[in-house]
């Protein structure tokens, strides 16, 4: 059932490289001991993913990915790391049972997903999406998806205000 007879087109080579980058970044992120290293290797994964988006013809999403994930969220996390202390790393007691079970669970889940993917049938042909997809997205956002878009912007505003309110240091009574 596995037919790996894929022609080595340029797209596939690019996909393969980016995919390897993404997986390596993710696995490294899990294996690093220092928090900053983890955050940075995840940022690497995010950039790889942005490349994949470009490969999939979603340039706008790729830009947003770079801007938001790599630019905003990772930096936010690094700020979070800096604001909290991380002395006790490396000498934490191991939790073998939890880790083993989690590994088994994740592998099983992957197996099931992989089995699902392998047994699903997809159209072989790629659809022709509009070339200028940023323009099209903009149109859609402000016509068909106007209300969800506004709601999401409200959500984002609320979240940021909330975050500021939460993280603000309590006023000293004196």
């Amino acid at each position: 059932m596995f037919n790996f007879n894929i022609e080595f087109t340029g797209e596939f080579v690019a996909f393969f490289l980016l995919a390897v980058c993404a997986i390596v970044g993710a696995v490294l992120a899990i294996n690093f001991t220092k928090v900053v290293h983890m955050a940075l290797s995840l940022a690497f994964t995010f950039i790889s993913l942005a490349g994949l988006y470009v490969l999939l013809g979603a340039e706008f999403v790729a830009f947003v990915q770079v801007l938001l994930y790599v630019g905003a969220i990772t930096i936010l996390m690094i700020f979070g790391i800096m604001m909290t202390k991380h002395d006790g790393e490396g000498q934490e007691p191991a939790r073998p049972l939890l880790e083993t079970l989690a590994a088994i669970g994740c592998l099983c889940l992957f197996g099931i997903l992989f089995y699902g993917i392998r047994s699903a049938e997809f159209p072989a042909e790629a659809a022709s999406l509009p070339a200028d997809n940023t323009l099209e997205i903009g149109k859609l956002l402000f016509t068909q998806y106007a209300i969800p878009f506004e709601l999401v912007s409200v959500l984002l505003t609320v979240a940021f205000i909330g975050a500021v309110a939460l993280a603000k240091r309590e006023e000293d009574p004196q």
């Binding site: 999403v61 659809a127 999406l129 509009p130 984002l156 939460l166």
Partner: protein, 102 residues
């Protein structure tokens, strides 16, 4: 093996790695980052479907935009909560938070 299956498999790998990170990492910030990784795996799926799916359309990309936005909001609130927790408990280790038991 179509190109879509490759994307989906990659997404599944990333998702499971992220899930493993969520389940095993002590540091709350890494847990949050792992959640972001899982979200990204989902985003990859959405975008792959928007090109190679049964009904290819831009809706997948737009959905991804929303997901990214929500993820950003989640990250912001999450880090804020972590900072507050750190202030009160002087730790960001997830296994030291067992308030759910009380």
């Amino acid at each position: 093996m179509t190109i879509l299956s490759s994307y989906l498999t990659l997404a599944a790998v990333l998702f499971c790695v992220g899930l493993y990170g969520v389940l095993t990492k002590r540091n709350a910030i890494i847990v949050l980052l792992s959640v972001e990784l899982m979200l990204n795996a989902v985003n990859l799926n959405l975008i792959a479907f928007s090109k190679y799916g049964v009904n290819p359309s831009l809706a997948g990309q737009i959905f991804t935009l929303f997901t990214i936005t929500v993820a950003a909001a989640e990250a912001a609130v999450g880090v804020a909560i972590l900072v507050v927790l750190y202030r009160s408990r002087a730790t960001v280790n997830v296994d030291e938070f067992d308030e759910l038991r009380r």
